[in-house]
């Protein structure tokens, strides 16, 4: 199997050309690369194969993150309903410790896992601040969520 800049397939399903996602959208080109024309066909084919896996992982990450925000939103509603404090330091400490351990099992840098959790917490807080200030909330997050849950 080869892929050249003139023939920038393969796509995942083996069909030719970029996948059209809708009449008014820019199609995603899985073979988009500034390296096109500067690389052997066989090398480019191997690169595209690995990138295809990265693309699948990224799609999974996006949908999984969306699901996570739905869950923290539920917690937010629950906390608001019962007038519970936004933060929960005991919970956060347990989460961080667990994620660092899991990262070790996955051969991932534990410090990165902790940084990642803090990155997500930051986004949750940002959503809640937007709600508190009466600003539009990104995505489909519903108004009324005041609890901060990481």
């Amino acid at each position: 199997m080869s892929a050249t800049p003139q023939d920038p397939t393969p796509t995942v399903d083996g069909s030719a050309g970029p996948v059209l996602t809708g009449p008014s959208e820019t199609p995603y080109d899985a073979a988009a690369s500034s390296l096109a024309g500067h690389v052997q066909d066989s090398v480019m084919a191997e690169l595209l194969s690995i990138r295809s896996s990265i693309d699948n992982i990224d799609a999974t990450l996006v949908f999984l993150l969306a699901e996570r925000f739905k869950a923290t939103q539920k917690v937010g509603f629950l906390k608001a309903e019962h007038r519970l404090p936004a933060g929960d330091p005991g919970r956060e400490a347990a989460q961080i410790s667990r994620l660092r351990r899991l990262a070790g099992e996955a051969h991932l840098d534990p410090a990165f896992a902790e940084k990642f959790l803090n990155f997500i917490i930051g986004e949750v807080i940002r959503h809640h601040e937007a709600i508190a200030e009466g600003l539009p909330v990104p995505g489909d997050i519903q108004p009324g969520v005041v609890g901060t849950e990481s």
Copy 2:
């Protein structure tokens, strides 16, 4: 089903008490909470149920991220072997555009999806810089990877 500070279960499998992960590790307590003792049993049970889903999602995220770094590491080796440039602006632009679109489908803020990709890219670059400087690389990332691939 109820859960109180005196009985901080349920665990996922219904067994009692925190899960012991090894003889020398601190056990993970899925019911760890600074709210313990300040919340109705039924509310705490609902909170723990949602948190159990968040914990499952977080574990999946950690293992998925580990897999993603394995893939970018492969690309790094390939680029190093064929002396290809580290960055690929054409690829990055296509990735960002796609992730924003997928975020929309998932009801996730597209700006967050882009920020997330940049966060990951930052980590990949940090790994590669550590390698270039001869520093220990976090996790199990192998030395010799010089390409930057997001």
